[in-house]
Symmetry: C2
Subunit: 317 residues, 2 copies
C-alpha cells in the first residue's frame, strides 16, 4: 500500500491553433485545468478513492464552459447539446456510462449512478434521462448550456454545408477526462464530452464506450482518451493500452506510444490520451497539435500544458 | 492466399433448458442455424468477401422469429422492440454499428450502411432510423415484429415485478452473430440482438459495441459474442481475444478459453462467443448451459449444436 497519490486530467486534443490562442485565454484554460486537477488531488490526499477523485475532476471540467463537455458542450445538427460520459473503477472492473443525454447537468455523475445503482453499464437517450430523474440528479434548462462561442461555431459549420455525412466534416476533438491513483493503490478513469460539432443521426463517439474511450484495471493502468472517436473505437484505444501491458509486458510509456503514435497515427486517428499506472507513472501522449492537460505527480508537483512544445509529453519517473 | 473458407454462426447463449426443448423445436432451431451458415458459406465458395458472408448469415438469423434479433426481438419495458447490431471488416478495421433502432427490418444491414456510407461507427436511436431512411433501407410495422411467445415472456416478466432495475431481472442471453474467413484470407464478424427482455432506461448491451461484442482483425481472428452484455463490456470480450493472440501469442483456443472460461466466468458473466482465426481454426466456447451454434469447417463439413453435451465445444483442427 502506497501513500503516494497522483492524478491527471485532459480538456481535449482539439486545441486552438497557437496563433489563435492569446495569453488571456491560455490563462483561463490553465486555471480550468488546475482547478480540476487540484479538486481531484485534494480528495486523494484526504484518503478518498480514485473513482471519487476522477468524478470530481471531470465534474469541474464539465462545469467550465471552455471545455466541450457538460455546460460547454457543442451544438448538434439539430442545435441541441447531446452529451456522453463514462467512468470505470479499476479495483472491481465496475463501469457506468451514458450516451446522448440532454439537460443533465453533470453526465459523469449520471454515469456514476449507472455504475453504482443499476445492473447496467450503458444507458442512452431519453431512457438515461428518465433514470437520472429517478435518482434526483440535477437538470438544467437549455439556457444553462447556451454558449455564444459554441453557437457561432455551429452556425458557421451549418451554413458552410458541413452538416452532411461526409469526410469534409470539421474535426472536433473536444473531450474532458481524468485518471487517478489513490492511497490504496486503486486506479480509476473517467471521460465526458459534448461530441462533434454538428453531429447528426445519433452519432456516438468513443467517450461513453468502456474499452474505447475509458478503461481502468488496478493491475495495469487507467486511461482516458480524446480525439477523433471513430478511430479510437476501431482500435479499442483505452483497453489496448492495458492489453499491451498485461499480455505484452510493455511499460506504460511503450504501450501508450504504440496506441497513439503508431496505431492511431497510421490509421489517421488524431488525438491523445492520459494514463496512470499502478506505480504512479503518468503518460500523456498525443499526435495532434496539442492537448489541454494538467497533472499532479507523486511528489505533489502540479503541471499544466497545452502544446507539445511547452513541456515534455510524458512525465514518467 | 488460401482457397479454403469457413464460417460459424450463433443464435445466442440463452438456450432453453434441455427439459423444455422438444424434438420439433430443436429441429426448427437446427434448420435456422443451418440456413444461415449455408447462406454465408455459399457466398464464400463463390469468392465473395467475409463481410458479405457475415452480413448474409446474420440477416437470415434476424429474419427468423426464433432468435432474439430483428424479427424475433424481445419486448422492452415499454413493450417495444429496440434492436442493436454491429459488424467489422478485419481487412481494413472498418466497422459500423447501430443501437436502439426500431422498425428497421435488418439492423445488420443498417450497420453495414453506417460502415460503408458514413464517416461514423456508431449511430443510435431515432437518428440512426433517420439515417436508415436516407439510405432507403426497408422498415416494417410493429406487427412484423410481434411474436406471441415473446409477448407472453414479456407479460410474465412484467407482471412478476421484474421490470425494476435490480439483480433479480431475468437472464436473457439471446443474440445472433457470425464470423467468416474468405478465399482472400479476410476475416469479418457481425452481431445483432433485441437485447434483454423488459430492458429499460435505454439500456445498451455489448452487441453494438466494437471491441465488446464484435471484433475482427485479419492478422488474428474474428469474434462475435453472446451473453450477459454488461460483463462482456467490462472485459472488452471480443477485442480481448484478439489482444491475447497479438500481444500474448496465445492460440485461438487458449485466448477464447481465457476470456470465456476464466475472465468472464470468475466475474459471473454468463455467455459464450464464436471465433475464427486466419488459419481457419474455429472456437465456440461458452460457460452457459448451451449456445445455439452452427459452422462449416475448412473441409466443407457442416455442424449444428445447442448443448455442451452434444458435441465437443471446439472444432480446432
Amino acid at each position: 500500500m502506497s501513500s503516494k497519490v497522483c492524478i491527471a486530467v485532459h480538456g481535449g486534443a482539439g486545441v486552438l491553433d497557437q496563433n489563435e490562442m492569446d495569453e488571456e485565454l491560455k490563462k483561463l484554460y490553465g486555471e480550468g485545468l488546475s482547478l480540476a486537477v487540484q479538486k481531484g488531488h485534494q480528495i486523494l490526499l484526504n484518503g478518498g478513492s480514485a473513482i471519487d477523485a476522477v468524478a470530481s475532476a471531470v465534474t469541474a471540467l464539465e462545469d467550465n464552459p471552455l471545455f466541450n463537455a457538460g455546460r460547454g458542450s457543442v451544438f448538434t445538427f439539430e442545435g441541441k447539446q447531446e452529451m456522453d460520459a463514462s467512468l470505470m473503477d479499476g479495483s472491481n472492473f465496475k463501469a457506468g456510462s451514458v450516451a446522448m443525454v440532454r439537460n443533465v447537468r453533470n453526465p459523469i455523475q449520471l454515469a456514476r449512478k449507472v455504475m453504482d445503482e443499476s445492473p447496467y453499464v450503458l444507458l442512452a437517450g431519453t431512457g438515461a434521462e428518465e433514470f437520472a430523474k429517478s435518482k434526483d440528479l440535477p437538470f438544467e434548462p437549455d439556457s444553462y448550456f447556451f454558449n455564444e462561442k459554441r453557437y457561432k461555431q455551429w452556425q458557421a459549420v451549418k451554413d458552410s454545408g458541413f452538416h452532411r455525412l461526409d469526410d469534409r466534416a470539421p474535426k472536433n476533438l473536444g473531450t474532458v477526462g481524468a485518471v487517478a491513483l489513490d492511497q490504496k493503490g486503486n486506479l480509476a478513469a473517467g471521460t465526458s464530452t459534448g461530441g462533434m460539432t454538428n453531429k447528426r443521426y445519433g452519432r456516438i463517439g468513443d467517450s461513453p464506450l468502456i474499452g474505447a474511450g475509458t478503461y481502468a484495471d488496478n493491475q495495469h493502468c487507467a486511461v482516458s482518451c480524446t480525439g477523433h472517436g471513430e478511430f479510437f473505437i476501431r482500435v479499442v484505444a483505452a483497453y489496448d493500452v492495458v492489453a499491451g501491458m498485461s499480455y505484452g509486458n510493455l511499460t506504460l510509456k511503450e504501450s501508450t506510444d504504440l496506441v497513439v503514435m503508431k496505431k492511431l497515427l497510421e490509421m489517421g486517428g488524431e488525438g491523445g490520451l492520459i494514463a496512470i499506472d499502478r506505480s504512479g507513472n503518468i503518460a500523456l501522449p498525443f499526435n495532434a497539435e496539442g492537448m489541454y492537460r494538467g497533472w499532479i505527480d507523486l511528489d505533489g508537483v502540479m503541471h499544466v500544458a497545452i502544446y507539445s512544445n511547452e513541456l515534455t509529453m510524458n512525465n514518467e519517473q
